[in-house]
């Protein structure tokens, strides 16, 4: 298509002022005011005074909170109708629980805003501009398109601006691109896309060296940095699998509770019972149906899981991530520092044609040349500089070379240029001067005229072959073979400068020397794989979790590391690698097709392409964990189901955007976290089952009460004493159960596999719940009948006989929950085989149940609160029999299941 129109980066500097309706002297006050009105202030945040209120109100839209609020309202109404029952206390209790729930959720969301605070630190407070021909320092927020910025060393850049004058301008674009090396900026037109141009200074970046003038063309959220900030703020993490499943469970239980409550309310009304009695009754049904303690126990269980994860170097910032980590299907991992040690070591120095290693003397000479194109300084903690440059210096030391002398011999250094992918320098030795270039082979090969073929390099002399096509192809083959072994490969080329070649450092042009070079060697640098990574990847595969490697490295290096770590089989073809260039041209559907075909390695990618990979994986209904450390990783970390930031290498922005921080940056720690996350979910299932069992004996008395002329065996306070009292510690005990051996041998659970399954409902309500209900009601009626009660008799609520009967019903439920608790430890095994003493919290839960069951009957202060009374000891012992009854019945069921499963297994085999 015709590209007739130009963008700002494609214009000559002198035209930039005009097209931005500005001039070299800058804007005048009226122009600034008009533009400020038009595009707004140069700020990363949109003023939204109602945001906090809106976010807080949103917390009241979930089913559970609505249910609690409605229940509280009913309590207040009931209290108004009949003040004697103290229903207002229950009302306040429910309202406070609802408020606390909403408040904690709000605080969690509010904390996410901190990523924005970390981003703001990259922007300056004041900037120097020229307006109306005057230089002045103004607040960065007042910058508008058309403003003329003056850039100097150390300045943070406030907005996206087109460079019109550049004098040795070098900027650090790391916040935006993740590239650690600074980039040179120029004022000449650039044909590339706006975001890739070297004549644009981007907001959030900083000037490392030099000075310049630039005209602003985008401010605030319209800058490239603003887009990162906008995404970091606007992307809200999708609900975690557990949150979705919990929401589903709460919805089902709420609907059941409300329908039952309303049904029996209208039934009571039709039977002519007083309104307040029906209201209280409805409340009772709802309270009995809703496991009030379950959600707080979820939170406690996740909190304990997060503590266990912290011991494994996995710091969890958001509790939902604890379980989400256990549910993931795919881990997208960085290479450097996560799979590898991030300790660059030069392991090979080879001849470019044959690939043979150079001798030690030659190595030292070559390394001295390489050092001239490096920038290393002595610091308190040792050598500092680019890790590659430091590796060169360390290797010189390792070969007993004189590092200080080698550094002194380097007379000039040209910094690494990200665009050119090379650095350069001049070495003066023995009266000779050498121009040296070190960088990617692809970047250096066009400058080559010769390739060293024998021993000796540079001053030592040696045979040099012409760098014709076949020689270059041979060299490339050597380079690729090294990359295929997982090495990062750097080419080193040089040329001797003529004695009369004059230069002054300030005016030297690197390009002038970059021709007629001789390729001296390839330097192979290894970043060793962490020893535990291979095992961790294998564990992931066994657990049905895919691992995807996303790196900025060469495809061969990426493939080699992926092979070594077990992400792909060793020797996997290059077709299984997608490079950043290919990725940029793929549609989402195209990328999905590649992922489905088994592509697991992405090389030469940019951090922002991570987002594209996440989106594709999520469209495949995968739950994705993503690692990241840079500022521009923040959106991807938020978009992933589980964002994992690096604790050591990570920036503040990445850490604030992630849900999990890896304290040791180690991939193996993620896998340990996954095992913990899966265990947490298994345990949540166990205690959900446990808690729902007690709903059976809580509901049954209400059904009997409404259908038959019998007293109510449990009141609302007694139900709450179970749900919000005695069930909590045992549930937490189940939440502490250690992982099963099988935890990492099964695939991740499918999305949509609910916590509340029909099997779980049947087991909880219709089997164990019914059993608990029948035994507790049996003892309730036994006490009543033994005390002289007859069918149809009405009893006053404070009648001692009624209180004793209610006491034994409650005590029986409490004791039978012990049998239920032990059975819940395993799906197929008895639960005793692991030993009660192995889980202290579980033991504490049992002790609490026992003490509370005794106190319910025999401790007067508790009797008063719960409206219970004592029973003869033999009756209390009958309640104890309930433990064996429920445990035995459940164990019998398990045995039958095991037998049936083994029979089925035999039949199929």
């Amino acid at each position: 298509m015709n590209k007739g129109s130009l963008q700002i980066q494609q214009l000559a500097p002198e035209r930039v002022y005009a097209v931005l309706n500005s001039r070299a002297q800058g804007l005048n006050t009226a122009e600034v005011e008009e533009r400020l009105l038009q595009v707004g202030p140069n700020s990363l945040e949109m003023a939204d005074p109602w945001k906090l209120v809106r976010n807080f109100s949103k917390q009241f839209t979930n089913f559970f909170t609505i249910l609690l609020m409605v229940s509280a309202a009913i309590c207040f109404v009931a209290h108004g109708l009949n003040p004697g029952e103290s229903m207002n206390i229950l009302g306040w209790a429910l309202a406070v629980v609802a408020l606390l729930n909403a408040f904690f959720s709000f605080i969690q969301e509010y904390r996410a805003e901190r990523a924005m605070e970390a981003l703001k630190k990259f922007l300056p407070q004041l900037v120097e501009v020229e307006r109306d021909g005057q230089l002045s320092k103004i607040a960065a927020e007042n910058i508008v398109p058309g403003d003329v910025l003056l850039l100097a060393e150390g300045d943070k850049i406030p907005a996206d601006a087109r460079i019109v004058v550049a004098e040795g301008l070098l900027v650090n674009n790391a916040p935006l691109t993740g590239e650690a090396n600074p980039c040179s900026l120029y004022h000449e037109p650039c044909a590339k896309r706006l975001a890739e141009c070297d004549n644009v200074a981007f907001a959030g970046c900083s000037v490392v060296r030099g000075s310049g003038r630039a005209v602003v063309f985008a401010t605030g959220l319209r800058t490239e940095f603003g887009k990162v900030a906008h995404l970091s703020q606007a992307i809200t993490r999708e609900a975690s699998p557990l949150e979705r499943e919990t929401a589903h469970m709460v919805r089902v239980l709420t609907i059941i509770a409300v329908l039952m409550g309303l049904g029996f309310f209208f039934y009571g009304v039709s039977r002519g019972r007083p309104l307040w009695v029906n209201l209280v009754f409805m409340m009772g049904i709802i309270v009995a149906n809703v496991p009030e303690g379950l959600l707080p126990t979820f939170t406690l269980s996740l909190a304990m899981g997060s503590l266990r994860m912290a011991r494994k170097n996995v710091l969890v910032k958001s509790l939902s991530a604890v379980e989400a980590l256990g549910a993931i299907h795919v881990i997208c991992s960085d290479k450097t520092g996560t799979l590898t040690e991030n300790l660059l070591t030069i392991t090979e120095l080879v001849k470019p044609q044959s690939g043979e290693a150079w001798g030690d003397d030659d190595k030292l000479h070559l390394l001295e040349l390489a050092l001239a194109a490096s920038e290393v300084h002595e610091a308190d903690q040792g050598l500092s500089g680019d890790p590659l440059d430091v590796a060169v210096a360390l290797k010189i030391r390792g070969l007993d070379g004189d590092l200080a002398a080698a550094q002194a011999a380097a007379s000039h250094h040209f910094v690494f240029d990200v665009e050119k992918r090379r650095s350069a320098g001049i070495l003066e030795k023995d009266g000779q001067r050498f121009f040296v270039v070190k960088g990617a082979f692809e970047a250096i090969s066009p400058m080559l005229s010769g390739i060293t073929s024998q021993t000796g390099a540079g001053a030592q002399g040696g045979k040099v072959d012409r760098a014709d096509q076949s020689a270059l192809a041979g060299a490339e083959e050597v380079m690729r073979a090294m990359a295929g072994r997982g090495l990062r490969v750097i080419a080193l080329a040089w040329k001797e400068l003529a004695a009369d070649e004059q230069f002054r450092a300030g005016e030297m042009e690197q390009a002038k020397f970059e021709e007629g070079l001789t390729l001296a060697c390839f330097i192979g640098i290894e970043d060793p794989l962490r020893p535990e990574v291979r095992g961790a990847v294998a564990k992931c595969h066994k657990a049905g979790i895919e691992v995807i490697l996303i790196t900025g490295d060469h495809p061969d290096t990426a493939l080699a590391i992926a092979g070594k770590s077990g992400i792909v089989p060793i020797g996997e073809s290059e077709a299984q690698v997608i490079t950043g260039d290919v990725l940029a041209g793929l549609t989402e559907a195209g990328l999905v097709a590649h992922l489905e075909q088994g592509v697991r390695v992405f090389a030469r990618t940019t951090p922002e392409q991570k987002m594209k990979i996440i989106t594709a994986l999520k469209s495949m209904e995968k739950i994705v964990a993503m690692t990241g450390d840079g500022v521009n990783d923040a959106p991807a970390l938020k978009a992933a189901d589980v964002g994992i930031a690096m604790g050591r290498q990570g920036t503040d922005v990445a850490r604030e955007s992630a849900q999990i921080i890896l304290l040791d940056d180690n991939f193996a720690s993620i896998v340990a976290g996954i095992e913990e996350g899966r265990t947490v979910f298994d345990n949540i299932k166990k205690f959900t089952n446990y808690v729902l069992v007690s709903n059976g004996p809580e509901i049954l008395p209400y059904l009997l009460y409404i259908l038959f002329p019998v007293p109510l065996a449990l009141n609302v306070i007694q139900i709450l004493s179970i749900d919000l009292g005695t069930d909590i510690i045992p549930s937490m005990g189940l939440g502490q159960e250690p992982p099963d051996q099988e935890t990492m041998n099964r695939p991740p659970r499918a999305q949509g596999q609910g916590l509340l399954t029909p099997a779980l409902i049947c087991h909880s309500y219709l089997f164990l719940g019914l059993l608990e209900g029948l035994w507790s009601l049996g003892l309730f009626f036994y006490v009543l009948i033994a005390g002289g009660w007859q069918y149809g008799d009405e009893l006053a609520s404070h009648d001692p006989l009624y209180r004793s009967a209610m006491g034994i019903a409650l005590a029986t439920i409490l004791l039978m929950q012990i049998g239920n608790l032990l059975g819940r430890r395993f799906a197929r095994r008895s639960g005793l085989d692991r030993g009660i003493f192995s889980n202290r919290l579980l033991l504490l839960g049992i002790v609490i149940q026992v003490i509370f069951s005794w106190a319910t009957l025999y401790f007067p202060p508790l009797q008063r609160v719960l409206n219970t009374g004592p029973v003869p000891l033999p009756v209390y012992f009958l309640a104890w029999f309930g433990i064996a009854l429920i445990f035995g019945a459940d164990y019998l069921r398990k045995r039958m299941l095991v037998r049936r499963e083994s029979r089925q297994c035999d039949e199929t085999s």
Binding site: M1, N2, K3, G4, S5, L6, Q7, I8, Q9, A18, V19, L20, N21, E31, E34, R35, L37, Q38, V39, M46, T61, N62, F63, P145, G146, D160, R162, R193, L194, A195, F217, A218, L221, R222, E224, G226, K227, V228, H230, L231, A234, I235, A239, A247, H248, R251, G585, T587, E588, A589, E608, M611, T615, S619, E621, P635, Q751, G752
Partner: protein, 281 residues
């Protein structure tokens, strides 16, 4: 059919920036002609308007676009003066700024542009420029699609006018779900909605590919489930680094109605890139 492009020019800085869009559209419209219409409402002095129009003329000349000028006195109000100047019908396209006079009342609500969009007398594109450095030549476009049975047909007309500079076209279909149900939606339901959206997008993609001869253009379609389509459009614009969002206006989402008005306004206010709101008659 020959298309006549009119630039409703009020002399503001936004109008200068919008002028570049109008010039680029004229460049690719066939007759390479643009008519600048200015109504003398007294907001800016005649000298300043004359100087600015001269600058637009220079740019038009540099691009090879002929520029006609209609500088007219105010009759009743700016809208009626513009309506009197621009021939009615599908042969006319009026390019205007999303905010011309209505300071403090939003970017579209109560503006002349809104009035022109609402009247449906000729094709209209109202543009808000926040990144003047693009010089009216965006390379990545984002078209949010509302699920209209006509698909991309109306949008295609406007896309063709900008297509010459475009490298990448992103189509976005947002399947909106109410906030309350969104959090409880089952996997099966969301899968079904996504499929429905994807089918819609695929039909449109096939249609576009059939109509466009350019095979180098990167076209991608995306379906998103959301309870807040405005927020999702803004997120996608940042995520895809699009340089312009182009949206169709209907009576339903034009700010003429109180309840719907704030949605377009929100996009115009918070946009990370330039925005074009179009209406084809």
């Amino acid at each position: 059919m020959s298309l006549n492009i009119y630039l409703a020019y009020d002399g503001s800085i936004n109008a200068d920036w919008v002028a570049r869009y109008a010039l680029n559209m004229a460049l690719h419209a066939g007759n390479r002609q643009l008519c600048l219409v200015h109504i003398e409402d007294g907001t800016y002095s005649q000298e300043s308007i004359a100087a600015k129009i001269t600058a637009v003329e220079d740019e038009a000349r540099a691009l090879g676009v002929g520029l006609d000028q209609l500088i007219l006195p105010l009759v009743n109000n700016v809208t009626s003066s513009l309506l009197a100047a621009i021939p009615l019908g599908a042969d006319s396209l009026c390019v205007c700024g999303a905010r011309m006079t209505s300071r403090g009342k939003g970017f579209l609500a109560g503006t002349i542009s809104e009035s022109l969009l609402r009247r449906k007398l000729f094709d209209v594109m109202a543009i808000r420029v926040v990144k003047p450095g693009l010089l009216g030549a965006p390379q990545d476009l984002l078209f949010p699609l509302s699920g209209h049975p006509q698909g991309f047909r109306a949008a295609m007309f406007f896309f063709r006018l900008l297509a010459a500079e475009v490298d990448c076209l992103h189509l976005l279909r947002i399947m909106e779900v109410s906030s309350f149900w969104f959090q409880y939606m089952s996997v099966a339901k969301s899968r079904a909605l996504r499929l429905e959206g994807m089918n819609y997008i695929n039909d449109i993609l096939a249609d576009i590919r059939q109509q466009l001869s350019d095979t180098t253009l990167h076209i991608d379609g995306k379906v998103i489930l959301s309870d807040d389509w405005v927020k999702e459009i803004l997120i996608q614009a940042s995520k895809l680094k699009t340089q312009m969002i182009i949206m169709g206006a209907s009576d339903r989402n034009l700010p003429s109605r109180y309840f719907y008005g704030n949605k377009l306004e929100q996009i115009l206010r918070e946009t990370p890139c330039d925005v074009g709101i179009y209406r084809k008659i």
